[in-house]
């Protein structure tokens, strides 16, 4: 419904733009450094350290998606938790699950759009300097970071909506454990076998917010 998206956009507008800009700046810095280093150590040696020593050129991006997911979730759901304002949303003449899912879908779609945009910049820029044999493993390596960003969004929303502090803490611990799956230390391309499983789990966990929403509605004290 247009109204829902209207309200959600008002909430996340500035956060979204901030991260978009941050991401563009991050990518720019990354490529400027690549350009500089290729010039100074010679392209052949630069490719060598990527191919045979596993030095990535994109480490600067690692936690960007996570912070973006966190930021957008907070921008979207924190205003709802103040004074239990989400009661207003639940009171609207729409099914409670439906409206929560739509709010969630909006946030997730915005985040995904941002990430896709970053992917496009990443591939376009890398294409100038590197062949497919370097770009493909790089994409494999950064994909879990972006999935982790989405998972962070879903889990943060779930934590913010949870009414009881004890459970908020427990969900934070469990959620942090889950998010750590996306940021394990590994060489370039190491995540290849597990990306699909992680994507499926991320998709599944998007429904978690319904659970907290329900707990909120039933008046958990």
């Amino acid at each position: 419904m247009k109204s829902i998206f209207y309200k959600e956009w008002i909430k996340i507008k500035w956060t979204f733009l901030a991260f978009l800009v941050l991401g563009i700046v991050g990518h720019t810095i990354m490529f400027l450094k690549v350009r500089h280093d290729i010039l100074f150590v010679d392209a052949v040696n630069y490719w060598y350290s990527f191919l045979f020593r596993g030095y990535p050129y994109f480490s600067i991006l690692k936690f960007l998606p996570l912070v973006a997911g966190l930021g957008i979730a907070i921008a979207q759901y924190f205003p709802e938790t103040l004074n239990k304002r989400i009661k207003l949303t639940f009171h609207l003449p729409v099914g409670e699950n439906e409206i929560l899912l739509k709010m969630h879908a909006f946030g997730a779609s915005s985040l995904t759009a941002m990430f896709v945009f970053f992917f496009v910049i990443f591939v376009s820029g890398s294409y100038i300097y590197f062949p497919a044999e370097i770009i493909k493993p790089s994409l494999l390596t950064i994909t879990p970071w972006f999935l982790g960003g989405l998972a962070t969004y879903f889990i943060t929303a779930l934590i913010l909506l949870e009414p009881i502090w004890l459970y908020r803490g427990l969900y934070t611990i469990t959620g942090a454990g889950f998010i750590s799956f996306f940021y394990m230390y590994g060489t370039i391309g190491a995540y290849k076998p597990v990306i699909i499983s992680l994507a499926v789990l991320t998709l599944l966990i998007s429904t978690g917010v319904l659970f907290s929403g329900y707990r909120f509605r039933k008046g958990e004290m």
């Binding site: 044999e133 799956f181 590994g186 429904t207 659970f211």
Partner: protein, 412 residues
Amino acid sequence: MIKLSRYILVLVGIIVAAFAIPKLYWTIFEKVPVNPTVFYSCMIDDFIILGSEKTGPGERMDGQGNRMTLAEYEKAMPLMFFRQLMTDGNMPDSINGVPMEPMVINRANSFYRYTPRKINTPVPSLYPMLESQSGKVNLAMPDDYFRIGKRMEFIVAKTNKVDEAKSLKFTEALENKGFAFPARLIAGIPTTRKSKDEGYFVTDSNEQLYHIKMIKGEPYVAHIETPEDLGIVFIECVDLRNSEYYCYLFTRNKGIYVVMDEVYDLQRLPVEGIDPFSQEIRINGDLFNKCITVEGSNWLKATAIDDMYEIVDTHEETWKGRYERSDGKILSALVPFEVSLVSPESVFIRFYFQKSPGYLWIFSSVAALLISLFIMMRRKMELKSNLIDLAIVAITGLYGLIIIFIFPNKFR
């Protein structure tokens, strides 16, 4: 729908618990594993085992189980410790009629170690083709990298563009030798820190083995005859000082072969049951013998061979595996399974699922089930609506017990 969302959270929670709890446990309680190393001594005509379970870490024994002191060990391995012995004046002048010259000894010594992490790993697929005979003393990195897909292509790093002429030249050379594109395995030593460059050993899509080098800028391609159904799964090239052979081949018929220098004869090493996906392999060579050690998680088999690749002697060791030691036993009694994202045998990150060996975990799962029932009854929860939760605890034991209460089931 909401119930489903809770079960999804429970599932994810259990995965996290099954990952975090064992990790915490091992971090606190893991004992240093037994990790023996085996050498063969031409002096005592027997094996020397370091760090066996019998002797403990840092101690040595011979193949019969007799302990050896450091001095005895050094004396028994003169080819390894020749520098020390020569300094001490304890080096024999000759062994087996061969005079002990440091250069000769050094040339013949080799240490090779293979771990499954070498095969369970992402493959680069771009390689530098060095000039094999530049006439210079030092090797130099080329300006380009090659890949072998539908054809062999050289990409100039600086411009990120294909060098068409060179690519064509090499592709034709491969086609003339009957190479079936694309390549399956490409193995070489992609560094300038080696004594000589021998290019790459490559299998094509029909699993035929080729040797590709660049000599004075021109392609050198040799097709190496291999037996039918050899099934090469892994190749590792080595830079031996005595240039005895180019590389090791690991094959589907559970063997290890070496490809002899210049003549390209395949020599099978006299060891059986080789599984490069799970075993560690060490090959230590000296002037007279090679010692091939094949290692699993709680066993090893060492085979000593002579310079004709005939077996001279064998030795076996076993030790308590992870789950036979007390630390592993306790954990396998507490939890029904473990989840990990990393494995010592692989570079890849994926979900590794390890069921607890033995049956002791059944007791703790039952205990977990009883505890859940107790908690549910104390909280006056309706058992009928919690049947699925109880089933979850029955299957996942401790993890389920914790998680079903972290995500409480309060549906009415």
